[in-house]
């Protein structure tokens, strides 16, 4: 039996230095395709799009003498839902699985035996996460804005469009910040979702209550500083707990410093993820989960 054992001469690619960006592009394309293929992206999209019905329902449910100002509703939805809840959830949903899914389904040996620079792998996948989650989040944000202008009392003018763009930018910044954290957790931990939930919805809440500068150890602090000025005028927040109520003085950080700090945090977490993949030993028997 004759067997072709070599690939054709014309097909043999000389193993010269392949471009770093080819590797990154390959990782990006692979991760994006995997995300799109899975039906669970439908769940993520549906949950993220759910807030759009709020401005649509409000006119039906509101008693006219108590109806809220359209801009207040929009601001409320952006800050309370999209930035405080949806962005962290999308980061948990997609970010934890960027590296973690390969570990869980034991396809990691295929990846780490490929001649792909670890940084290219991480950057490519991270880019895919930012792209996919930004598409989902920003679609929902824009639809919410459209709903607020169409049936709510939000005026469609230059100021509101600028406001929309501002919130969209902060939304992407929050995806970057939370995504870098969850990507790192997915690479280093076997229970990234639990740790992520405890950090985002436990520690970040607790840090806003504890007096002092503890809240600088959160991502939310820097994102809040990027919000439109009207949102950060409050310097003394009233903290309501189950048992007591008190006022806490907030230490304000400048928007540009906050943006820079966020970039540094994202870069540090991405570098840390690259180092983890580089130096971690992935055993077949030890799969991560949860």
């Amino acid at each position: 039996m004759t067997t072709q054992t070599c690939l054709s001469e014309s097909a043999i690619v000389t193993r010269d230095k392949r471009s770093y960006w080819t590797f990154t592009g390959g990782a990006f394309a692979h991760a994006t395709t995997m995300m799109i293929r899975h039906k669970r992206i439908v769940l993520a999209a549906l949950v993220t799009l759910a807030p759009v019905i709020i401005p649509l329902l409000l006119p039906l449910l509101t008693k006219s003498e108590f109806s809220e100002d359209g801009i207040k509703i929009f601001k409320f939805l952006m800050e309370q839902i999209y930035l405080k809840a949806m962005a962290p959830l999308l980061a948990l949903f997609f970010g934890c699985m960027l590296i973690g899914e390969d570990i869980e389904q034991q396809t990691i040996p295929y990846i780490v035996t490929r001649p792909i620079p670890r940084s290219a792998l991480v950057l490519g996948r991270f880019g895919a996460y930012v792209f996919m989650s930004a598409v989902i989040l920003l679609t929902s944000v824009v639809l919410t804005f459209a709903a607020c202008t169409a049936v709510g009392k939000l005026e469609f003018c230059r100021e509101t469009i600028v406001l929309l763009a501002h919130y969209a930018g902060v939304g992407v910044a929050s995806l970057l910040g939370y995504g870098a954290l969850t990507t790192f957790l997915g690479a280093i931990s076997r229970k990234p979702i639990i740790i992520g939930v405890l950090f985002m919805f436990g520690w970040q809440r607790l840090a806003t209550i504890v007096p002092g500068a503890v809240d600088f150890l959160t991502i939310e602090k820097y994102l809040n500083a990027l919000l439109p000025a009207m949102a950060t005028e409050r310097q003394n927040t009233v903290v309501k707990l189950a048992l007591i109520e008190f006022q806490k003085k907030q230490l304000i950080i400048d928007a540009s410093k906050a943006g820079l700090s966020l970039l540094i945090i994202v870069a540090a977490l991405i570098v840390a993820t690259c180092l983890v993949i580089r130096y971690r030993e992935y055993s077949q028997s030890r799969t991560a989960a949860g």
Binding site: Q4, C6, L7, V13, V112, T113, Q284
Partner: protein, 306 residues
């Protein structure tokens, strides 16, 4: 091409208190080498150390003269077919190989072409567009081999490649491995089924409890085991009469009789064979058949691991 492809000196790896690989000294050249051992011998750990998936606890291992861990130049020259039967979900075999090619740095067009060629090499062209979920075990194994070959590696690691395959598929893999070796590639394949190795190569590395028991040609290893008696079974008309010819030899350890045959155990097989040849030529005992039941890897291995 370098003379020594894989070199390990004092290579040890432990996981907690478990010593998986124990002070290995190995030099493997080009061609096909079988990595043998029972379950838990350290075969997969050795392969993973060679691929850089693990870092050694002590000593070193070099591929093409360089350490493999996080070394992109080395990884560019190797292919790996893992033992695990896992793939990305919702993919066809072709897509899987193509994406692995993309992650190896190929552009889209090259990745597609190389994936098609690799699938053709492992005879999966007809089914390569079907979802992997619909494949039999043998097809999945072939796709794994295809993704290992697509980058045209100089060194190929196959971890239990025959696992779960039917005889026809095994034959195809045997043939592929043989031809890869003949084409000048270095192939390391691990198995715990000893007769598989003998089908493909005579060059073996035997591991047991993380240590090397033996390395080299099967027959040379066998020959070196002087203390282990060599068994020869002779079928003839007069087994008792034949046994008289050997009973006085110092090298003869034992004679066992079965129906129409005698099994001679001797420390000096060469002299015994010479004597038997003379007896055949004389026609004195009507010798019908002569076999060597332990001139194979199984007996070598069983002896070594005792």
């Amino acid at each position: 091409m370098e003379a020594t492809i894989i070199e390990a000196r004092g290579l040890s790896k432990w996981f907690g208190e478990i010593m998986a690989v124990n002070n290995l000294e190995v030099a493997i050249g080009a061609g096909v080498t079988g990595l043998l051992g029972p379950n838990g011998a350290g075969k997969t750990t050795f392969i993973r150390l060679a691929l850089g998936l693990y870092g050694p606890s002590r000593g070193y291992i070099h591929l093409f003269g360089q350490p493999p861990r996080n070394n992109l130049d080395v990884l560019n020259r190797i292919g790996y077919c893992p033992e695990i039967d896992r793939f990305y979900e919702n993919m066809s075999g072709f897509e899987f190989v193509r994406w692995m090619n993309r992650l190896s740095g190929m552009d889209n067009k090259t990745a597609k072409r190389r994936a098609e060629e690799a699938c053709e090499l492992v005879k999966m062209t007809a089914r390569m567009r079907d979802p992997i979920d619909t494949y039999s075990r043998g097809m999945r194994q072939r796709i794994k081999v295809a993704q290992a070959l697509a980058n045209d590696p100089d060194l190929l690691f196959l971890d239990e490649p025959m696992s779960g395959l039917d005889p026809e598929a095994r034959e195809d893999i045997f043939s592929l491995i043989r031809h890869l070796g003949e084409a000048g590639r270095t192939v390391i394949f691990s198995t715990h089924v000893l007769h598989e190795v003998e089908r493909v190569t005579s060059n073996v590395l035997l591991l047991h409890n993380g240590c090397i028991l033996a390395q080299g040609d099967i027959r040379q290893i066998r020959g070196l085991i002087d203390e282990h008696p060599h068994a020869i079974t002779v079928t003839c008309g007069d087994p008792h009469g034949l046994s008289q010819q050997f009973i006085s030899d110092d090298a003869t350890l034992s004679l066992e009789f079965s129906e129409g045959a005698v099994t001679l155990r001797t420390r000096d097989p060469n002299t015994a064979y010479q004597h038997l040849n003379e007896l055949i030529l004389n026609g004195a005992f009507a010798i019908e058949a002569m076999t060597c039941p332990d001139d194979n890897l199984q007996s070598v291995f069983e002896y070594l691991i005792k």
